[in-house]
């Protein structure tokens, strides 16, 4: 009886934890990361479009609109999934304010009003200081849930309890058979032997399922969850540096705070202001990851360096007299194309890890398919067989 309930309860609790991980916190963490990337794309793209002049390039306008549309959809999804109220309500309230500021910036820019630049600055500040931190809080909460889910799905004492309970049931059955053997001098009671075998199978099956599921969880953490978070962070940092570059060019020499922010971001990525790698930082961490998606992560380093070369050139050109137009040309031309390539590859790497993470979690959850039913039936049957076996021996003496 006790063995039955221990096995069943442990299995069900783990199954529930893994399911919740796969369905809720894992999915919502991924959604928060995607939301962060989409909002960063929107903000950086719109700044770059302003750099191009009064009439924005259609491709960038489309990219901005698509990013905002999918970000809005994702906020709805996160709310439907029961995400935390505070950051989500900040997002729901501030994103329309942001897009409103952008539209005003755009309208003013189009008719040549310089106040458009002030609207753009204010919108970007709103994005960086209120909207994105709310997304970060959302992701942080999901990350805690994921950590908790992992712990719940792999409690160390559950396999120990199952093992002890299984061993106790086995010991009891064996002791019973020895006693019966001594009393009755009959070698085998087939029902009791069958019950013993069933207990062994059920306990072994449960422990096996625990072990396999745990191994899959560990794999999905090492091969998918960690790379995914690092790549997501690399992408967001890069988008921020790219946005800073545009805003700084728009500020025409008055962008010291933007340049300082770009330096901070580049440092975090692992490069000094002159573009030399420091050997540490997010990008170096991403490249150092090995795992099934390593090739996709490795390519980010040369991708980023190609873009960074143009960024350094732009900064040098801006310092020259009359170099501004050339700097803008380089930024809009090579700067945009190299960055777009980096961003595309970063998105691909993120998607690969994201899919692996989802697949890993659902396969870890799949381990438990039928385990509860199987062990329940086996142990119930074993119980009945034991009773029947003992009863038949008692009947012998009637």
């Amino acid at each position: 009886m006790v063995t039955l309930s221990v096995c069943l309860l442990s299995t069900l609790s783990r199954q529930h934890a893994v399911d919740a991980l796969a369905r809720d916190s894992g999915a919502s963490f991924v959604a928060a990361q995607q939301l962060h990337a989409e909002l960063s794309v929107a903000d950086a793209t719109v700044a770059r479009a302003f750099l191009a002049g009064g009439v924005e390039p259609p491709a960038q306008r489309t990219a901005y609109q698509e990013s905002i549309a999918s970000a809005s959809g994702r906020i709805v999804d996160l709310a439907l999934a029961g995400g935390p109220r505070e950051p989500l309500s900040v997002l729901a309230a501030q994103l329309p304010v942001y897009t409103g500021l952008i539209e005003r910036a755009r309208a003013n820019n189009r008719i040549g009003n310089v106040v458009g630049g002030a609207y753009l600055r204010q919108a970007s500040e709103l994005m960086q200081t209120r909207i994105l931190p709310a997304v970060d809080r959302l992701a942080a909460e999901d990350a805690l849930d994921i950590d908790r889910g992992y712990a719940q799905a792999t409690r160390w004492y559950q396999p120990v309890l199952v093992g002890v309970a299984g061993a106790a049931a086995l010991a009891a059955l064996v002791a019973l058979q020895i006693r019966l053997f001594r009393r009755t001098h009959r070698m085998f009671n087939l029902r009791l032997v069958a019950a013993t075998v069933l207990v062994v199978i059920a306990t072994g099956l449960t422990l096996l399922a625990f072990g396999v599921s745990r191994a899959r969880l560990v794999d999905s953490r090492n091969d998918a969850f960690r790379p995914m978070t690092v790549v997501a962070q690399v992408r967001v940092l890069a988008l921020r540096a790219w946005g800073d570059e545009s805003l700084s060019l728009i500020a025409r020499g008055n962008g010291d705070d933007l340049d300082a922010d770009a330096r901070r971001v580049t440092e975090r990525l692992g490069y000094d202001p002159a573009g030399r790698p420091a050997g540490t930082g997010a990008l170096a961490t991403a490249a150092a990851l090995d795992g099934p998606d390593a090739p996709g992560q490795d390519v980010l380093v040369p991708d980023w360096e190609r873009y960074q070369d143009t960024a350094v050139r732009v900064r040098d050109l801006v310092r020259d007299v009359g170099g501004f137009q050339e700097a803008v040309r380089v930024a809009l031309d090579e700067g945009t194309s190299t960055f777009t390539r980096f961003d595309g590859d970063a998105e691909t790497a993120f998607t690969a890890s994201r899919e692996r993470f989802a697949a890993g979690l659902s396969s870890a959850a799949g381990t438990y398919d039928g385990v509860a039913a199987g062990t329940g039936t086996a142990l119930g049957l074993a119980m009945l067989l034991t009773l029947a076996g003992v009863q038949s021996r008692i009947n012998d003496y009637r």
């Binding site: 002049g53 609207y119 992701a139 064996v174 422990l207 008055n254 300082a260 137009q325």
Partner: protein, 319 residues
């Protein structure tokens, strides 16, 4: 019995080796990088009666004849010509004086043309002026520290500023004024007691809001354009600035009007470092010549209204 125990032990041992609780904390490289916080500078204190500094618009007398282009005759001018360019600070968002053209990204305006005039007189050719944007808060310091040769950024000549940098002779006379919504009942700062009134940080306009006897609530933002954004959003009721700059704002937002125009005695000058008196004299020479040959009037016509320009402010020299 023995066999059964081994049977039970094998899966047990197999799993206990791998049954530690798994954690999945975020890797440090995935931590978000919070946005930088820009510290807000404190509001200026109310003005105390200052001893004054005589005629603050009195500048250094220009040479009788300007040195021919490309042939500087004094240390600062020689340094600039050897460097190959003149560095000038202008504003990005105060049309018609200085602004960044949204289409080209280039600077344009009254003050930009004045700076180009100085550059042409110095080098004898175009393309030797390097502009950078400045704000009300940093413009005087940039000249003082030698980061820029000139700052032409609607800088009112005041005794406090004249103690830090030299000023050219005034190139424009304006008046302080107040911008309010078209339908607002206010006629000037006197009606705005207890209301939120915006001015750019580091400007005499902000000082005026702080000093106003009606006690409006001063709101300082980085630039005049930010003030216009705030007024369009309804978070401030009025903006104080030079009348000519407010005219530039009315052009961008016809739903506003200018009230409370003060006396046209606010002199605007080019700020130049105190250790470059030869540059100040040269700039004054260029301004005098621009007055004589009509260049000043042409720039005035180009950027301000286009009608018959008034005579430029007459220079006073202190030698």
């Amino acid at each position: 019995m023995f066999r059964a125990m081994i049977f039970a032990a094998v899966p047990l041992l197999g799993t206990t080796a791998a049954c530690g609780t798994v954690t999945s904390t975020l890797p440090a490289a995935g931590d978000p990088l919070p946005a930088a916080v820009t510290p807000q500078s404190p509001l200026p204190a109310r003005s105390t009666t200052s001893p004054g500094c005589g005629d603050r618009t009195a500048s250094l007398r220009p040479p009788v004849v300007l040195p021919p282009p490309g042939q500087p005759d004094s240390p600062t001018l020689r340094e600039i010509v050897n460097r190959g360019y003149l560095t000038v600070g202008v504003r990005t968002d105060t049309p018609p004086f200085g602004s960044r053209n949204p289409d080209t990204g280039e600077f344009e305006g009254f003050e930009v043309d004045l700076a180009l005039l100085v550059g042409r007189a110095l080098f004898g050719a175009e393309g030797h002026v390097r502009f950078r944007a400045v704000t009300g808060a940093d413009r005087v310091a940039l000249v003082h520290d030698g980061a820029l040769d000139l700052v032409a950024a609607t800088t009112t000549i005041t005794c406090d500023r004249a103690a830090e940098v030299d000023f050219s002779a005034p190139y424009y006379l304006t008046a302080k004024a107040v911008l309010v919504s078209e339908d607002a009942p206010y006629q000037g700062l006197a009606d705005l007691g207890g209301r939120r009134v915006c001015a750019a940080a580091g400007t005499t306009s902000l000082q005026q809001v702080v000093d106003a006897p009606s006690r409006p609530i001063p709101v300082q933002l980085a630039s005049p354009a930010d003030c216009l954004v705030a007024m369009q959003a309804g978070t401030v009721e009025a903006i104080v600035n030079d009348e000519a700059i407010l005219l530039g704002m009315v052009k961008q937002d016809p739903e506003t009007r200018i009230v409370g125009v003060g006396a046209f005695d606010v002199a605007v000058g080019i700020a130049i470092a105190k250790d470059a008196p030869d540059l100040t004299r040269f700039v004054n020479g260029v301004l005098e010549r621009a007055d004589r040959d009509g260049a000043w009037a042409a720039i005035h016509r180009r950027w301000l209204d286009g009608g018959q320009p008034p005579p430029p402010p007459s220079p006073v020299y202190r030698d």
